[in-house]
């Protein structure tokens, strides 16, 4: 692990994979720039793992091509693609010592003995486990095994790293810890990384960009902020973070746009938001963007009644019922200064035009 190497570019063009009647991967195209950390995010069955397996070479696509560093590798077998990979259950070889596990790819490449020694040691230090070389995988804890798996994947300095839900088997605290370590490791090495997970928080923490997938197709690609602030459809809005979703109609009232829902709920909408859509739409607003608007300080206000209030430690969650039986979830951080209306209280809530998304 000398200087950081530049990662290679990974380009996927029009990948299709069908199993019988099911399109597991349906026309997926994506580019991972050199050194970028991209996460494939989606529920199970979304095709994210299959896509990763196509990049790795374990699944042959029915259509489309894979390029690594500009070279087409679609028909190249996995052992010749020069990729690094970390598996969900670590896949450490149980009959070899940790040292032998990490040395394996180097031995396969016929590296000289002293080079092997040096590089394995460096790899162990990289994942902060310098003393476990003589032990066997089964003697280590899950977190330690995962680090060794990472060390093994990186010891031969591949230009691309693939990760298939590597933290899935770990408990929460350890997982969060590992996330931080993985991210800093990846940035230091500058290695292009393609990561698969179903955990949206994990995706947001680790990635430069996130690819949201559903039923084999890409729903949206963007930075975590892009996806959170500007989801392009309801699925993305719902999958990334919590959101309120009101269904209604967009109407023109005089010279203004109004969102009308249920019986009599009318919410003003800035023309910019609507993008000139009319008819049935959804209004999406994040719970933390809704404020108490007693003093009328927001651009949009609505009257409602607090239906429930739940204390969650770091936050308090309220359910507010608006005119026309629509309810919104509102969350506020647990600060001394914030108002804590009790159940049954009438309140005024509000937000700014920019906080709402019309889809």
């Amino acid at each position: 692990m000398s200087q950081p190497r530049r990662g290679a570019e990974v380009r996927l063009e029009g990948l299709v994979k069908t199993y019988g009647p099911v399109r597991a991967v349906d026309s997926v195209s994506l580019t991972v720039s050199s050194g970028e950390f991209v996460t494939l995010l989606g529920p199970s069955g979304s095709g994210k793992t299959t896509t990763l397996m196509i990049v790795a070479g374990f699944v042959e696509p029915d259509e489309g091509a894979v390029y690594i560093g500009g070279v087409q590798v679609t028909e190249t077998p996995p052992h010749r693609r020069g990729l690094g990979m970390v598996f969900q259950h670590y896949a450490l070889f149980p009959h070899m010592t940790i040292f032998e596990n990490i040395a394996y790819p180097l031995r396969v490449r016929h590296a000289p003995k002293d080079e092997i020694l040096q590089r394995v040691q460096a790899a162990l230090e990289l994942v902060q486990l310098p003393a476990v070389g003589a032990r066997y995988p089964l003697q280590l804890s899950g977190g330690q095994q995962q680090r060794i798996a990472v060390a093994r994947a990186l010891v031969y300095e591949p230009v691309v790293l693939l990760m298939d839900e590597p933290l899935g088997a770990l408990d929460r605290k350890l997982r969060e810890q590992m996330q931080v370590e993985l991210r800093s490791l990846q940035q230091n090495l500058g290695i292009s990384t393609l990561y698969v997970t179903h955990d949206q928080e994990e995706a947001m923490t680790l990635s430069d960009r996130v690819v949201v997938m559903r039923a084999g197709r890409i729903e949206q690609v963007g930075t975590p902020e892009d996806l959170y602030e500007r989801p392009q459809n309801h699925f993305v809005a719902d999958f990334i973070g919590a959101s309120n979703c009101l269904e209604g109609e967009l109407r023109t009232q005089g010279d203004r746009l109004v969102f009308a829902a249920g019986e009599g709920l009318r919410l003003p909408v800035a023309p910019l938001q609507a993008k000139a859509k009319h008819g049935r739409v959804r209004l999406i607003i994040r719970p933390e963007r809704i404020r108490w608007a007693e003093d009328g300080s927001t651009e949009v206000t609505a009257a409602g009644v607090v239906v429930s209030s739940t204390y969650l430690g770091e936050r308090v969650r309220y359910v507010v019922r608006l005119q026309g039986e629509q309810t919104l979830v509102v969350t506020h951080p647990n600060l001394e200064s914030s108002a804590r209306p009790r159940e049954g209280t009438a309140v005024r809530i509000g937000w700014n035009y920019a906080d709402a998304i019309i889809l």
């Binding site: 994979k17 042959e60 696509p61 029915d62 259509e63 679609t74 028909e75």
Partner: protein
């Protein structure tokens, strides 16, 4: 008009196979090649000679069914066929009578004891067939262990004839085939939902009623499977009737051996072998139809 165009209505040939399909095909072929050597050996050393036997039974010297007719018309041979079925049925009943309660008790036993019981039953299965038969001769002979002790203790005054008769054969065959009944039944009992029985009791049914209406029906498939298996294996038994039976306990396999080694009547022996094979195969097809073949694969 161009050959491949919208006018002609003929589409240009797509690349015959995608890369994915070619890889899949190559892989399937590779795995098939792994099975090929054994397949070849089986065809040459197993299937072919058995077909030869079949041929010998009807084609020597020209097409004839006389050999089969003989098996059924000649009372001596017909008797052998019947005694084979009779012994097999009795063995099956014996195994059922002893094996069912044993399997039940084994499944009810506490875990550690259960493990030991299963190991012991399996052990008896793996022991050499010849040694087991020899042991019975030692025990059942007129001058054998059992008679010696019974005489010594004055329970009897002359030796009981426990061998060279139906009793000896049944004792031996039951002992040897019991594990075939116990082990499948044991897995049925272990897999049975115990709460059903408890539910039955809590609803007020007594032990006998619970047994008849809950336990028995649920285990019947296992019973059928075990019984059919024991029956089929008994049909082909050779060593036990030879060593423990008298001349009237000659089973089909013994007759076949006799015809080959003593009478040198190959066509007849072949016909008898074909009959045995047909009967056995037929029974297995019945087994497969009713119970599926998974049970056969699992057990070693």
């Amino acid at each position: 008009m161009l050959l491949f165009s919208e006018e002609s209505g003929v589409a240009p040939p797509a690349r015959l196979l995608t890369h994915a399909q070619r890889v899949a095909r190559r892989r399937a072929l590779g795995y098939f090649y792994l099975v090929l050597p054994l397949l070849a050996v089986m065809l040459g050393l197993f299937v072919f000679p058995i077909l030869q036997i079949l041929a010998k039974s009807i084609f020597e010297p020209s097409f004839t069914l006389a050999n089969y007719a003989r098996a059924f018309r000649d009372p001596i041979y017909l008797r052998v066929l019947l005694i084979t079925v009779k012994i097999s049925l009795l063995t099956t009943l014996g195994c059922l009578a002893l094996g069912y309660p044993m399997a039940y008790l084994m499944a009810e036993a506490p875990p550690r004891i259960r493990g030991i019981l299963v190991a012991l039953v399996a052990l008896s299965l793996f022991m050499s067939l010849l040694v087991k038969n020899y042991a019975w001769t030692v025990l059942l002979q007129d001058t054998g262990v059992i008679n010696t002790f019974l005489l010594r203790w004055g329970v009897i005054h002359k030796p009981l004839h426990l061998m060279y008769n139906l009793f000896g054969v049944l004792v031996g065959m039951t002992q040897m085939l019991l594990p075939f009944m116990i082990l499948p039944l044991f897995s049925v009992f272990s897999g049975m939902d115990r709460t059903l029985r408890r539910a039955s009791r809590s609803l007020g049914a007594g032990s006998l009623r619970t047994f008849l209406h809950v336990t028995l029906p649920l285990t019947l498939p296992g019973v059928g499977a075990g019984a059919l298996l024991v029956f089929i294996v008994s049909l082909g038994y050779f060593i036990t009737p030879a060593l423990l039976g008298g001349s009237s306990e000659m089973m089909l396999s013994n007759l076949i051996e006799n015809q080959v080694h003593q009478t040198l009547n190959w066509p007849f022996a072949s016909a008898l072998a074909t009959l045995l094979l047909s009967f056995t195969t037929g029974s297995y097809l019945v087994y497969h139809r009713f119970f599926g073949s998974e049970k056969l694969w699992e057990r070693v």
